[in-house]
């Protein structure tokens, strides 16, 4: 169901710039808090003599007709009367016929209703501009990525559970290169520890969207969903609790790794005591930008509150490969010339075939072996750095995130 403009009756959408609902037809701007509660509005629109059907009743009717169940519900668009199909985890979607935002109230009421929401603070235009200037301005990015079509971006509210509490840890660390052992007693306080609770999303990408500042969260109101997509949580509270503990543990380990005077330590024993409890369920904003490069899809995420960008830009493989090969040929040629013109004559002169400079030869050989080992280590490090960049690029091509985002653009059937 869409929220309609009291002036002209057209559907309204939430605008981050105004922090209000804006009518796209007459330009009317309304504070979401001044509109009647969404649920009561929904019930007011129905015939008072007729009780609204529960979702179970609707599904049982459907089951009678088809003889089988599937995780999909059909709702009628309040704007044009068209039928909108939404998946079991979605709580708002766009009508495929008229494009107005439809909110499925039965999925956000009762236990599924979020406690808080952080409204979008970064507009669609700002998100696209930031992505263009930060990630896609590089020389190696294919030209068609420099200008992004507006339909590639979708604003989606991601469900999160919040946890408060503390974690104690008595940790024993050992130097990798020796027997030195360090013992630490630490205690960490957590406030609004976020656990993303939508299993359809790639956790690695969404974890990098953080931080979200929960002091800007407001009480949940369906007005903020207008113009955006959203999902409800499909992670059980127990599963979320386990994830919260893992996350708290990783934060503590990252902090304790900095404590010891040596950087290469390993944790050999850790006694963790968790006291974390779930405090709420919130919807947090993110822009999803999906791009296609010759059949390969890239998904970028922009934090809808802070504008932080998560992603790795695609690069023109042919151009990069040819430049790497050309650079390597140039380096090898230069070094070969240097060897033939300088090193080889020097070796012939300093270390003649009659073995007259035997001690000098041995010293030179030892030094050469050391240099060779250092050069090999450097090459391995360079290769691993290159591989790391390549692996990061794969995160932007996460199929899971792509399907999640694309489904909301009507592109995946």
């Amino acid at each position: 169901m869409a929220k309609n403009c009291p002036g002209c009756g057209a559907s309204m959408e939430y605008d981050p710039g105004f922090d209000a609902l804006v009518c796209g037809s007459c330009g009317n701007i309304i504070d979401p808090k001044t509109l009647p509660d969404a649920d009561s509005f929904y019930y007011d629109m129905n015939d008072p003599s007729e009780e609204p059907k529960s979702i179970e009743e609707t599904l049982s009717e459907f089951e009678e007709l088809t003889g089988e169940m599937y995780d999909c519900h059909v709702y009628t668009c309040s704007q044009c009367g068209g039928e909108v199909i939404v998946s079991g985890t979605e709580i708002s979607t766009r009508c495929v016929y008229c494009g107005s935002t439809s909110v499925v109230f039965s999925r956000i009421s009762q236990e599924h209703r979020p406690d808080y929401i952080i409204p979008f603070r970064v507009s669609k235009e700002e998100a696209l501009t930031k992505l263009n200037s930060t990630l896609l301005s590089s020389f190696f990015v294919p030209r068609k990525f420099k200008k992004l079509p507006p339909e590639c971006i979708r604003g989606i509210y991601i469900p999160y559970y919040t946890f408060d509490g503390s974690v104690k840890d008595t940790q024993q660390q050992q130097r990798l290169t020796g027997e030195t052992v360090y013992l630490y007693d630490c205690r960490a306080e957590f406030r609004d520890l976020l656990v993303e609770s939508c299993q359809a999303l790639d956790d690695r990408s969404t974890a990098m969207l953080e931080p979200y500042y929960m002091n800007e969260a407001v009480d949940f109101d369906t007005s903020y969903l207008m113009g955006f997509y959203s999902n409800i949580s499909d992670l059980s509270p127990r599963g979320a609790h386990g994830t919260a503990e893992l996350k708290a543990k990783s934060f503590i380990y990252a902090r304790t790794q900095k404590l010891a005077p040596h950087t290469r330590n390993k944790v050999i024993r850790s006694t963790l005591e968790y006291d974390l409890h779930r405090t709420g369920y919130a919807l947090l904003p993110a822009w999803f930008i999906t791009l296609d490069n010759d059949g390969t899809h890239y998904t970028y995420l922009v934090n809808g509150q802070t504008g932080k960008i998560v992603g790795a830009a695609p690069w023109n493989k042919a151009a990069v490969t040819s430049m790497i090969v050309a650079s390597c040929i140039a380096v090898v040629s230069l070094l070969t010339v240097l060897y033939l013109k300088v090193l080889a004559p020097f070796a012939a002169e300093e270390f003649p075939d009659d073995y007259s400079n035997l001690s000098g030869s041995f010293v030179a050989l030892v030094l050469a072996c050391i240099l060779f080992s250092a050069a090999l280590a450097f090459l391995i490090r360079a290769c691993s750095r290159f591989k790391h960049v390549w692996e990061n690029l794969k995160l932007s091509r996460s199929l899971m995130t792509f399907i999640f985002s694309k489904k909301r653009q009507g592109g995946v059937k």
Partner: protein, 58 residues
């Protein structure tokens, strides 16, 4: 070939490896500029308090 001449040849090969490594590192850095995945994580805002005691010497 004497040991010295072998040593100079090894130095040549080592310089080739280092040169190729430098090229790869340079391109990794250039490509990595358009990549926010590698950014360092600062202390999380959800962890406002962290007390630690070094009890190694007790």
């Amino acid at each position: 070939m004497t040991h010295g001449q072998i040593a100079v040849s090894i130095i040549y090969v080592a310089s080739l490896l280092a040169g190729i490594g430098a090229v790869l590192l340079l391109f990794a850095k250039l490509i990595g500029k358009s990549n926010t995945y590698g950014e360092d994580h600062k202390d999380p805002v959800c962890m406002p308090g962290f007390d630690v005691q070094d009890i190694s010497k007790r």
